[in-house]
Amino acid sequence: MSRMLKLAAAVSAMTLFPAMLATASAENLKVVASFSIIADFAKNVGGDRVDITTLVGPNGDAHVYEPKPADAAAVAAADVVLVNGLQLEGFLQRLVEASGTKAPIVELSKGGEVLKIADEPHPHEEDDDDDHAAGEAGHAEGGQHAHEEGHHHHGEYDPHAWQSVRNAEVYVKNIADAFCAADAAGCDGYRANADAYGRKLGALDAEIRAAIAGIPADKRSIITSHDAFGYFEHDYGLAFLAPEGVSTESEASAADVAALIRQIRDDKASAIFVENITNPRLIEQIAGETGLKVGGELYSDALSDAGGPAATYIDMMRHNVATIKGAILGS
């Protein structure tokens, strides 16, 4: 039942049976978010009109997540399913098929500035004529399901687009659009929430730029576990190296690690960090062999739990910047 119909039914029920108000008002928009960062965006846009189920929770790794029957049940019952796209959620197609859902699968990276892996940035819209982007457009605008042919293959694009705050603003706009399409009665509220949150993101973007500007240019090379910070590098001017690629699915080879260690010694990287979604052992090994001290934990693909330092997207970005800057310059 659409939100509008739900509300109409609720109003009718309220008129006839005021005692049913609590039950009727409980029928919020049912939203599934593929991972914790998207859930935080959705919460900021949807407020108390949405009930959010998060598939890959705090500190979880969407690259290697295995969906469960309960996830399929949640997707089946959803009014809107929010995903990143760009092949981050390798589990998506089989989950959607298993669920049989009719809900729109909304790829939030659509319309953002998307980076090819180890390549120059290019606008996402440029791909609208090819079969990959056509599938994505169908998800967001046509309410179609995800299909294998609608995804980028061979890891062509870096999926970590949220590491650019400007892209995060696009995610938020896409969420507002999706919520408005599913619940026209709440649209004004969603737009207002998105605008307010967008202003916070704009301020965050400026805050990060100011913070990074304080780091000398010759100290901006740092090491993390996997290639999750390409967008941060592109937008804010830090250089990130990592033993693992854009997905944590494949472990780094010994040759890759050796090459990275040589590169660190040549480039004199300023700091090295573990990530919240990966095993710290490899980073600790590299730190030991290069003499770098582990500068702390960065949050790449997932938020922390509620009591941690990165419980929201804004907190996550601030924490990462503070951690990086503290390790390079001394906190």
């Binding site: 295995e66 469960k68 309960a70 996830d71 399929a72 049940a73 098929e97 298993a98 042919e149 293959h153």
Partner: protein
């Protein structure tokens, strides 16, 4: 590629106007490997054409295990003391936006794993561990070696003969721990050893261990008290015990299957129930599903993650919706097969081959095909003898022909 082994109905030129020098076509190939209950043989059936491709003679009637890749089928012959490897003839190479399929004749690879009373054969990460109950020894070999015809194995021993199991888990091996007080009883735990055979950590208690399966990132063993759940830990496998929920009736799972596409486990639980298990769930980790009659066999659907199948002794095949946790459809297929009598009497077994669910009917000498989408009968394939244990291999892919 040898075309005589293809189902011509499954072959369709995808790009007929391409230059002759680079023709590509899409091909589906599914094969059924059927072990006879009375005769020492495996019959290979083209599941799409409904024809018999070949028959391999064994030492005794076998149980069958297929590899994750589908390239290998093992025939485990317990009393004969041998595990025979058969190359399925179907291989698939993932190219991201498409996959290439190669189809050849099935054949014996030449690999035979010998020892006293082989029982469970488990694959993990491309390594097979065959446990020989009569010796308490696991023999481990890679698929690459098996397809090359090698019988060179690495061995890991336990303390005593037992009805055991071993899993090659990365750089470690997980081994069932024999019951020292009752040598004939089921194992009592899982011991982890490293590549040199040195024990790592404590033995994880698992009374009456019988049954293991993998799904997604998880490996589990079934115990009288619940499950042992194994994940990749920091430098060594991490094992935790998941107890059965208090609300479950008396019983335990002794056979487990791992879901494909969705991470879950399906197990037996008493004679007329199955249990769906999500070891990661905060609540409802165990969901019991009542069956109308005693259970004969069950299987998961590797193509349609939402479904599994259960055959009951009244001759019905049931489609189990693992998301909803209930029987979604039932279909009468055979005459009744009572569960009274010996556990290994000839009774139906289930496999999933592409669009079809296949059920053996050993007393009638045939296979029943059920359309997986409509859950309606879709035909029969006659197989001489008593077709019993069955596995399927196959896929769809692209073939490239150059002239």
């Amino acid at each position: 590629m040898r075309l005589p082994f293809l189902s011509t109905a499954a072959l369709a030129l995808a790009l007929p106007l391409q230059p002759a020098a680079s023709l590509a076509a899409d091909l589906s190939a599914w094969r059924l490997f059927v072990a006879d209950r009375a005769e020492p043989k495996v019959t290979v059936v083209d599941a799409l054409a409904g024809t018999i491709l070949d028959t391999f003679t064994l030492r005794e009637p076998a149980s069958l295990v297929r590899s994750e890749s589908g390239r290998t089928v093992f025939a485990v012959q317990g009393d004969a003391g041998v595990v025979t490897a058969i190359a399925s003839g179907i291989s698939f190479e993932d190219h991201g936006d498409h996959g290439d399929i190669d189809v050849e004749a099935p054949k014996l690879t030449g690999t035979e794993l010998s020892g006293r009373k082989p029982s469970h054969l488990v694959e993990h990460d491309g390594a097979f561990a065959a446990f020989f109950d009569g010796e308490g020894v696991a023999r481990i070999i890679s698929e690459k070696a098996v397809l090359g015809g090698s019988s060179d194995v690495s061995e890991v021993s336990t303390a005593a003969p037992q009805h055991g199991v071993a899993v090659a888990y990365g750089a470690h091996v997980l081994l069932s721990e024999p019951n020292a007080e009752k040598p004939d009883a089921l194992p009592v735990g899982i011991r982890t050893v490293d590549a040199k055979g040195v024990q790592v950590g404590d033995v994880a208690a698992c009374p009456d261990l019988h049954g293991e399966a993998s799904s997604g990132n998880l490996l589990v063993f079934a115990c009288a008290t619940g499950l042992l759940v194994v994940t990749h830990g920091d430098g060594a496998p991490q094992i935790r015990h998941l107890p059965y929920a208090d609300g479950l009736p008396e019983g335990k799972a002794t056979t487990l299957l791992g879901g494909r596409g969705l991470q879950y486990f399906l197990g037996n639980y008493g004679p007329d129930k199955v249990v769906l298990i999500d070891p990661t769930a905060d609540k409802d980790a165990f969901r019991l599903v009542d069956l109308p009659m005693r259970r004969v066999h069950f299987a998961v659907d590797s193509v349609r993650p939402r479904f599994a199948y259960v055959f009951t002794e009244d001759g019905q095949l049931h489609q189990l919706d693992v998301v909803a946790g209930r029987i979604a459809n039932s279909l009468k297929l055979t005459e009744p097969y009572s569960m009274d009598g010996h556990w290994n009497d000839p009774r139906p077994r289930i496999a999933v081959a592409g669009d079809h669910v296949v059920v053996t009917d050993p007393l009638q000498g045939k296979l029943h095909l059920v359309d997986a989408a409509s859950f309606a009968r879709a035909g029969e394939i006659a197989v001489p003898g008593k077709p019993y244990n069955i596995v399927s291999v196959g896929c769809s892919g692209r073939i490239h022909e150059t002239e």
